[in-house]
Assembly symmetry: C2
Homo-oligomer: 491 residues x 2
Amino acid sequence: MSKEITSRSENYSQWYNDIVIKAGLADYSAVRGCMVIKPYGYAIWEKMQRQLDTMFKETGHQNAYFPLFVPKSFFSREASHVEGFAKECAVVTHYRLKNDPNGQGVVVDNDAKLEEELIVRPTSETIIWNTYKGWIQSYRDLPILINQWANVVRWEMRTRLFLRTAEFLWQEGHTAHATKEEAIAEAEKMIGVYADFAQKWMAMPVRVGRKSESERFAGAIDTYSIEAMMQDGRALQSGTSHFLGQNFAKAFDVKFINRDSELDYVWATSWGVSTRLMGALVMVHSDDNGLVLPPKLAPTQVVFVPIYKGADELEQISARVAALREELHKRGITTHYDDRDNYKPGFKFNEYEMKGYPVRVAIGARDMQNGTAEVARRDTLTKQIVPQEQLADTVAALLDDIQQNLFNRALEFREQNTTVVNSYDEFKEVLNTKGGFVLAHWDGTAETEQRIKEETKATVRCIPFDLEPEEGRCIYSGKPSKQRAIFALAY
Amino acid sequence: MSKEITSRSENYSQWYNDIVIKAGLADYSAVRGCMVIKPYGYAIWEKMQRQLDTMFKETGHQNAYFPLFVPKSFFSREASHVEGFAKECAVVTHYRLKNDPNGQGVVVDNDAKLEEELIVRPTSETIIWNTYKGWIQSYRDLPILINQWANVVRWEMRTRLFLRTAEFLWQEGHTAHATKEEAIAEAEKMIGVYADFAQKWMAMPVRVGRKSESERFAGAIDTYSIEAMMQDGRALQSGTSHFLGQNFAKAFDVKFINRDSELDYVWATSWGVSTRLMGALVMVHSDDNGLVLPPKLAPTQVVFVPIYKGADELEQISARVAALREELHKRGITTHYDDRDNYKPGFKFNEYEMKGYPVRVAIGARDMQNGTAEVARRDTLTKQIVPQEQLADTVAALLDDIQQNLFNRALEFREQNTTVVNSYDEFKEVLNTKGGFVLAHWDGTAETEQRIKEETKATVRCIPFDLEPEEGRCIYSGKPSKQRAIFALAY
C-alpha cells in the first residue's frame, strides 16, 4: 500500500496530499475549495478539540455561539480590520429559491433580495463586539472570557486539504477586559496554551513569538504566533493570539465604568487555531509509508492482528486477544482487533501503517505456543517479540516512548535546520540550499521585510520570545537591530 | 427577580422568552432571525451534545464533516426533496467584497459573481449523497454510519429563540445500507435513541410514532418523530428519523454490487435533533420563578450560598463549604460556591432560582453551630434542614429524585391533557377548551388532514407506535380507520 504514496523526496506536496487521501483523513468535495473531513480525520480533530477545550476551560473560558452571518456594514467599522483583512468572502445576497418557470429545477428568487448583504463570517470580531456592547456596562461585567467552536469561510483562490480551504473549522476566543495589562496577559497566556498543546499533544515543537507589523492580524495591536517547521523546512503558522487594544471596542462603541467610576473603552483579545493543525500534524511526523500519529491524538492506539489458519486457531487467538485488550483498556489505552477474514495480515499491516496506528500487535500460532506477541512501533517501524504477560506494561511504556520520540525527532530536525546568518548573501545562500528557519538581524521596518520577501519569498515568521536581545545590523539595510527574527518560506 | 418574568397564565409565549433571556440562555443578534447562544445556554447544549454523541457512538456511528455550501443544482436532483422542502435558504452569489470607490466602507465586488450559486445548507442529504457516490462500490463498503454536528440555515419569516431560528445548531445522521430492512431498522433504532435521550436525560416524556404523509420530510418514504407536550398543551416535534428508501441514491446515482453480485441502489436514512431541544427543555419544566433544569443536564447541580456577618464568619463557613463540596465532587456532582460579597443572599437565591440550579445549599452562623445546612430543591421550591454530615447522601438522593420527579410531573401533565375523542364535535370542543393531545380516528388521507388543519389548526403529530390498532371511523370523513392518530396544535 505504501507504493501508492509519492515519496517526500520525489514530490513533497504530492506526498502530503497522498497521505491525507489514502489515510482517509479528508476528501475533495463538489464545492470548490471546501473539503469533506472523513471519519478517521474527524476522530483526530475531535481528540484535538477535546483537549484544547479542556485547556480553555481550565484557564477560565466558557463556550458560546454567535451567528454565522455578519452584516456587511460591520466590516467597515474598524478601519484597519477592513483594510487589512482579505475581502475574499462568501456573500449572501438572497434568501429564497423558487421553482424555475421553465421547469429546470430551482432558481434564485430575485424578489427575495436582502436589503443589506450578509457575509459568511471569515472571523467573528465584529459580530461579537457588537454583541458585547449589550453585555458590558461596568468593570463588574468584566472580564468576559468566551470561546466559540465554529466554521468560517475565506474564499481562497488556491486551496489545499486542511492547510488552506475555503471553509474550515476552528475555535476563536474573544475576551474583554478592564485593563490593557490584563488583556495583554490574556493574549500571552493563550499563545502559551497553544504552544503547550502543540508540544505535549501534537509532539510538535514550536517557536513562540511576536509577529511583524505586516504579518499582524488586521485590527490587532500585537499578534503572537506559534510557528512549526515542516519536513520540507517550511514554516507553518499553527496558532495566533492577538492583543486588539481598544480598536474593536471603539469601532462598536463598547464602553464601561471602570473602578475609578470613569467611562473607558474595553480592552480585547482574540485567539484561534483551526483544522490547519491537522495539516501540520500530518506533515511534521509522517513518512513515506503513510501517516504517523502521536499516541495522544491517535483515535486508536493499538491494533491487534491475528495470524491464523482455520477457525480453531482464530478462536484461540481471539480469546487471548480479548484478555490482552481488556488489560490495555484498564490503563486507558484504546485498541482495535482486526479479525476480518477477507484480508491477509500483510494487507492489514500496510493499512495500519498507512493510517498511523502507533502500535501493532500480531499474534500467530507460534506466539500462542510461546506465550508471546510481535509488537511493532509505527514511528521507527521496528519490531520486538514480547511475552504476553508483559504486553500491557510494554505497550504502555512504548506509547509514552513514541510520543516523546516523535517530539525529539521533530525538534532535532528543526534544530538542524535552523541557521544563524549575519549577511544577506549568507541568508540567500541558506534559503536556496538548506532552507529551514533562518535567524537574522532585521531593522524592524515593513519596507525591508517587503523587499526581502520579494527577493527571496522568505517572510518574518516571528520575533521569538525566547531569544535574548542582541545588538546587530540588519542583513538587508545595515541599520541597527536589537533582535534577530526568524525568517522562513512559509505555508 | 421572579417579578421580571411574565407568568405562564398571563402570556405563555412571553413567559418563555423572558426565561430564555433572563436565565442567560440566549440573546437576540444583529442578524435577523439569528441568535447568540450565551455561555449558560451553551453549557446545557454541550451536555446534551456530549450525551447524544456518546449514544450515537455506542450505536456504531462515527462523526465526519461535510461542506457548509450546497451547489444550487443539487437541490433539483431529488424531485420530492426540492418540491417539499422550504425554499427559504441563504443564497451565496458572490465571493468578494471591495472598498467602496466612494469611500463608504465595503461593497460587493460584482466582478466576483459565482457561476453557480451556493446554498447555505438547510440540511445535507444532497451534498452527502453526492460524496457517498465516491465511497461506495460494493456491499463491503456498507453500512456507512455517519453523523455530523453542524450549523444549518432556513430563512424562517417568524423566528423565536431556540424554537425557530434562521441559523440553528444540530446533528444530522446520514446512513447508507445494503438492504431496505437494514435501513428501516436503523431509522427505527435512532428514533428510539432520541426517545431514550428525551426521557432519561431531559426528563421529558415523548410519544414516538410515524408521521403522516403530509408531515413527512421531503424525500422520505417514512418519517418517525418524537413529540413532547409543552405546558400550554401544544406539541413540540423534538426529533425526527427518516427512512429515505433509494430516493437519494437514485438522485445521485449511488449504486453498489450486492451480495448476489447485482448492481442496486443504496438504501438511506437520515435523522436529526437540534437546538430546538433547548426550547423544549425550557418549556416542559420551568415555572413562573424561572428556569427548571433536570439535574443530568444542569451545568452546575448544586450551589452553596454563605449567610454571614463579617470576615470571620465567612472564613469559617467557606472552610466548611470547601469540605462539603469536595465530598460532592467525589460523587461526580458539580457545584459552585457563591461568596460574592456585593450581593445579598436573597438576591443570590433569586438568581439561582431563575437559572434553574437544581439544589441550593445555604449555610449560616446558626447552621455552623448546629452542624446543619438548609437544602432547597428547585423543582418543588421546598426546603429542609440537613445535618452537614448527611449532606452528600441527601444531595445525591435529591438529585435523582428531582430528575425522576420532573419526568413524572411532565408525564402526569401529558396524561391529564391527552383525550380520546370519537366525534368531530368532541374533537373541536377539546381543542377549544382543554387543548393537549387528542387521540382520534382518521382516514389516513392528506385531504382530511388538510381540512381538519384549516378548520382547527390542529395537525396529525404522529401515529404512535405504542397504540394498538383499533377499528373505527374517521371523525371527519366517517371512512374506516384502523388506528388513532395524535392530533394537536403544534410549535
